[in-house]
Symmetry: C2
Subunit: 363 residues, 2 copies
Amino acid sequence: MKKHNFFAGPAILPAEVLSEAAQAVQSFGDMGLSLVEISHRSKEFVAVMEEAQQLTKELLHLPDDFAVLFLQGGASLQFAMSAYNLMRSDGSGAYLETGSWAKKAVKEANIIGKGHVVASSADTNFNYIPKDFTLPDDADYFHITTNNTIYGTEIRDLQPMVDAAKAKGIPLVADMSSDIFSGPIPASDFGIIYAGAQKNLGPAGATLVIVRKDILGKTDRAIPTMLNYQTHIDKDSMFNTPPVFAVYTSLLTMRWIKKHGGLQAMQARNEKKADLLYNEIDRNSLFEGTAAKEDRSLMNATFVMPKAELEPAFLQVCTEAGLVGVKGHRSVGGFRASIYNAMELDSVQLLVDVMQDFEKKNG
Amino acid sequence: MKKHNFFAGPAILPAEVLSEAAQAVQSFGDMGLSLVEISHRSKEFVAVMEEAQQLTKELLHLPDDFAVLFLQGGASLQFAMSAYNLMRSDGSGAYLETGSWAKKAVKEANIIGKGHVVASSADTNFNYIPKDFTLPDDADYFHITTNNTIYGTEIRDLQPMVDAAKAKGIPLVADMSSDIFSGPIPASDFGIIYAGAQKNLGPAGATLVIVRKDILGKTDRAIPTMLNYQTHIDKDSMFNTPPVFAVYTSLLTMRWIKKHGGLQAMQARNEKKADLLYNEIDRNSLFEGTAAKEDRSLMNATFVMPKAELEPAFLQVCTEAGLVGVKGHRSVGGFRASIYNAMELDSVQLLVDVMQDFEKKNG
């Protein structure tokens, strides 16, 4: 039976990407060796890294004052790195607290220095994006989490965030782990964008980091070498051995995005899937969405059943239909359907069909 | 033409490991999904992580007071992590400086606190392992690099290092990136052992870290969450998404090691290959080894040509014979043949044949 992969991350990747990645593990190009057993200094792998960096710039329309890095450690390490590299010893970081990952970023700022929460939706279990906030005077940067995988919320309009940081003259830093490359963004208005690869981009193990180079070098801290963005910029993201398989697979995904029309086309594709699913959640008497409508994520739709006693039965019919990974995160409960770039409309349609069928039998 | 992979890292892996890893990227077990697109919290991946940890303990005969972690960031991040976790604010780290990676570890200790070099072979371009040293009184740990990939040296007898740390009552910390699992070691006498996977273990992107749990929690430093070993121990190496492909492939390699007789058998296999190659280096009038004989590495054989003008021609015949990656590191020059666990004796024999043939034509 065909499986439809709704996992929140690691998550669905295009079938042709997986097939080409598997082939490279067996034998890469015409080297007669596997991708994972060749030197990262070989011209073959250097070409992979360079194309991955160049395609990132092309997809996001990034000018040359930005560096593109593929690092390790996930967004969790970026919480520390962004604070280390931008926060002066008498300064602070300003954070919009929109979920448990944002909270972890704040926690890290407070280990390294001082993190200000400028607004939080913790009071309603993070089911909306706070829009009313003031950045403190000592803030060295403003940090946002653009998509909150667990709670199904997304900052659908980035402009107010860009404007707030600009008004203070500080860089905007964004954790885009779960919505990077899902649609066009004003990337060149950001100071740092980072994203764990394992949702829209590639396998776990690579973290895409985009840095506007002129914001660095302004802190007086001693930064551990590996946590210093300048270390990696100076060595073109090859200071030490990069996670070659994750970088290559990310490159394959970016080629796939470009081939399918780029970020504008991804946005249209993602809106179509999200509309289909959210319309059914709103129409179906057995389900209700958990996130504020204007902040609903295009990537992760969260929904519960008012009659919670029916949830195990619905999960069961999903499993029987080959719909995998729809169980909600324990902190929200119910269901979560992650519908990243690679998810086909047909799979979302099948989920909707199963929801409708379930309503007929149990409504 | 069959290629013989002498790259120093990323490096050769067993053919059956690569084949099984490629299969898992296509479709993993009976899930109907790729290994890299399933949740790391799925029971299928949790089983991978648990078996990888258990097999590490089994191969190294580690008792239960050790934790096994698969982290990200390579040995380079471990330079910082080991110092952060063990060095008190009024203490220091003692380092044996046996190469450029050891130097980087010292540099990191000095960013975080204080690193003492207790002995160094820098004066002779690191061509031997210093054996005469005294650990300073304020040292919180003693750090060694067991194999020096660039210079072709290896600490062949670990006991004096173990004894020195024991006499001071401090943990022994070892970077074993390039000789982990190449033979039996007294693992339970170490405080921390770490190894970037990309030589004897798996693809780049995973770092094996073994920690004796009772040495932690004794420093007064604020440690960034991701750099704190306790963070990862508390979450069974799943604090954040692990590098699933690199962990799985490392597991496949460990299964292969076990199937082929474990570390005792690896040692015998590696000694046979190293003897064959070093005997030829010593016999052949055109070549000479660069490392002190008693400190020669079983993993990386470094050699040069007294008539340096012949080196390009020898590199050419290697390429023609399908011998890949034998060019030496720029800081030593000449040649380096990396003959990790997965390298077959036949490939080493072919290199020896090419050396003998070259001598006949050019000697």
